[in-house]
């Protein structure tokens, strides 16, 4: 029992409720948001440290023993993602202070952001499948509000599609939960896991597992369920796309990791091979999309799809190295996608367009922005001193140990395509002759660059300080490898 576990959910929730009470006082809203996000960051840091020292932390809500009550579980995997998620959303909120505009701030923008963070943190920390559904809905409803906030034509058009896809996937989630409850009679993750381990994973359980894969694949954007993602993520402004790109799809990926390492791990030759095959196609589709477009936002969005594929590949390796690589890449990708979208947001503020062909020569007046973007591109592709390298090298090593030569080849080849796609942005937008003179620029980057400085610094730390980070990641991978650690921590048999 440790009340610390609930703080990353509780602080944003209380803040969001407070922010609802003061809709017109934007200064105060900003102050409260910063205070609460600082508090959440500190709480998550303490949580990570606590989990590292004492093992898995659980909180039985209302002191009901699991499996009868809801239990919150912070293992290292969840704690690391909570910490990264809070930091990334913190920087996105700092970015939106200068960028999001009065129209949206006046209509509960900061409250919706806090609700979104509540949902994401809850989804990471919960130990109950139905509770996971509820936190998914908390997260999705705030994302519906954020995606349509402002009400421009493209936002209205795209949010209809986004809403429809997510309503269908939520209904499928309920159906999957119904089947699972009918089969094992419980919804506590640890209890479901031990029940399935006792009775053996029958064919019907494997079918339910694949239904869960479809549900979380729709949330996470894996092939062939990624079709809604490019349009929907293009509609809202950059500050919102950054928080979506960094957090929302990653929650789906996290859930896939959680259920396929904890619950449905008995038939890897079926489920894990399907995941592996889908992952490899996802990587290719994302890379093809990324090199096809001449639109900054589109390119970055397709890079989300590629990254989801790379992370998913970690599950199909199913060794400790593979999981460690997947987790490392997941944490890295949350940070670097946040950074890239925020930097692209600053570029959009200057030029007023997303079209690469209409930009050029930005490096002359914005050298800091330019070189930061360059660093972020290198980190995304996985160039050694930066964070993307460690995750990919672990994945490649794990894949080679399992003799997945084609998969590893495709993954490494996709890094080249990813590098080409972002370098296309860098070379064309920052070099060539100048398109806009000083007076023609649509806005200033004042205050827009420092949030991404934080994220780039974090990415450099993840790369250079790999020796410091690796024990944490290794501990997370160890828990994923051996579900009995998790089950014993929750059920305390």
């Amino acid at each position: 029992m440790n009340n610390l576990v609930i703080l990353p959910i509780l602080i944003p929730l209380i803040t969001a409720t407070l922010l609802l009470l003061i809709p017109k006082n934007i200064k105060l809203q900003k102050v409260i948001s910063v205070i609460s996000l600082t508090a959440t960051t500190i709480a998550s840091m303490i949580l990570v440290h606590n989990v590292y020292i004492n093992g898995i932390q659980t909180l039985e809500i209302g002191s009901w023993r699991p499996p009868f009550g809801i239990v919150l579980v912070a293992d290292m995997f969840a704690a690391l993602l909570v910490l990264t998620g809070v930091i990334v959303s913190f920087t996105c909120v700092l970015f939106s202070f200068r960028n999001i505009g009065k129209d949206r701030e006046n209509f509960f923008y900061y409250a919706f952001t806090q609700f979104l963070i509540t949902g994401v943190m809850g989804a990471f920390l919960t130990g109950d499948l139905f509770n996971l559904f509820v936190f998914f809905e908390v997260m999705l409803m705030s994302s519906y509000a954020l995606i349509v906030l402002g009400g421009t034509k493209i936002q209205l058009r795209e949010s209809i599609k986004y809403l429809l896809v997510n309503i269908i996937s939520s209904a499928l989630f309920v159906i999957a939960l119904a089947y699972l409850y009918g089969l094992v009679g419980t919804l506590n993750m640890a209890d479901v896991s031990s029940k399935i381990a006792q009775s053996g994973q029958t064919d019907i359980v494997t079918i339910v597992a694949i239904l869960f894969l479809i549900v979380f694949g729709l949330k996470g954007g894996i092939f062939p369920l990624y079709f809604w993602l490019p349009g929907s993520y293009q509609a809202p402004p950059y500050a919102i796309t950054a928080i979506f790109g960094a957090l929302l799809t990653k929650v789906g990926v996290y859930s896939i990791y959680r259920i396929f390492t904890l619950i449905f791990y008995h038939e890897p030759q079926i489920t894990h091979q399907i995941i592996g095959a889908l992952a490899i196609i996802t990587i290719l589709i994302g890379a093809i999309g990324a090199i096809a477009y001449w639109d900054v936002k589109k390119i970055l969005i397709y890079n989300i799809v590629t990254a989801v594929g790379v992370i998913m590949y970690g599950i199909s390796i199913a060794t400790e190295t593979g999981y460690a690589g997947g987790i490392y890449y997941l944490v890295h990708d949350m940070v670097i996608k946040g950074a890239l979208f925020l930097l692209a947001g600053a570029m959009f503020t200057i030029t007023g367009t997303d079209n690469i062909k209409k930009m050029g020569g930005l490096i002359k007046r914005h050298p800091l922005l330019g070189w930061m973007f360059f660093t972020a591109c290198l980190a995304l592709a996985g160039i050694p001193p930066l964070s993307g390298f460690v995750g990919k090298i672990l994945l490649a090593q794990g894949g080679l140990e399992q003799e997945h030569y084609i998969f590893v080849g495709v993954m490494l080849f996709s890094s080249l395509l990813v590098l080409y796609s972002v370098m296309k942005i860098f070379m064309n937008c920052f070099f060539r002759e100048e398109v806009l003179s000083q007076k023609e620029e649509k806005g200033t980057t004042k205050g827009l660059v420092y949030p991404s400085v934080i994220l780039i610094a974090l990415s450099a730390f993840l790369g250079l300080g790999a020796e410091f980070v690796y024990p944490y990641v290794f501990e997370a991978a160890e828990t994923l490898m051996d579900p009995s650690i998790y089950i014993q921590a929750v059920l305390k048999e």
């Binding site: 409803m141 429809l164 209904a171 159906i175």
Partner: protein, 113 residues
């Protein structure tokens, strides 16, 4: 009894799929409503439809029905109610702004304002 209810849920979900694939937004929203009904009915059925009293301790019966699926359905109903009302208002707003309820005319990914 479970077999009948499963077939009913299947019919509901089949109708929902048909409606969601149609052109008009309102038909799609009706489809999502039916989909939610199908999912909730399935949740109740999968919990088991054995005979027993309503789960109230005052009934002092020998057997009660399973209270857990009922609580889950109650939660799922309010969630889908919230989402449906948001969807309806969104469809109304989109109709005012875009002057159409035809999904074919809402196609495309280009940012034409």
């Amino acid at each position: 009894m479970e077999i009948i209810m499963t077939i009913v849920a299947g019919v509901l979900i089949a109708c929902a799929t048909y409606l969601i694939l149609s052109k008009s937004i309102l038909r799609i929203i009706v489809g999502t409503g039916l989909l939610a009904h199908g999912a909730h009915l399935l949740l109740l059925t999968m919990g088991g439809l054995k005979r027993g009293m309503a789960p109230l301790l005052g009934q002092e019966a020998e057997a009660y029905t399973d209270p857990l699926p009922q609580a889950l359905i109650l939660t799922a109903i309010v969630i889908s109610f919230g989402v449906t009302s948001f969807f309806l208002v969104l469809a109304y707003r989109a109709y005012q702004e875009l002057k159409t309820d035809d999904m074919d005319k809402l196609r495309g990914n280009e940012n034409h304002e």
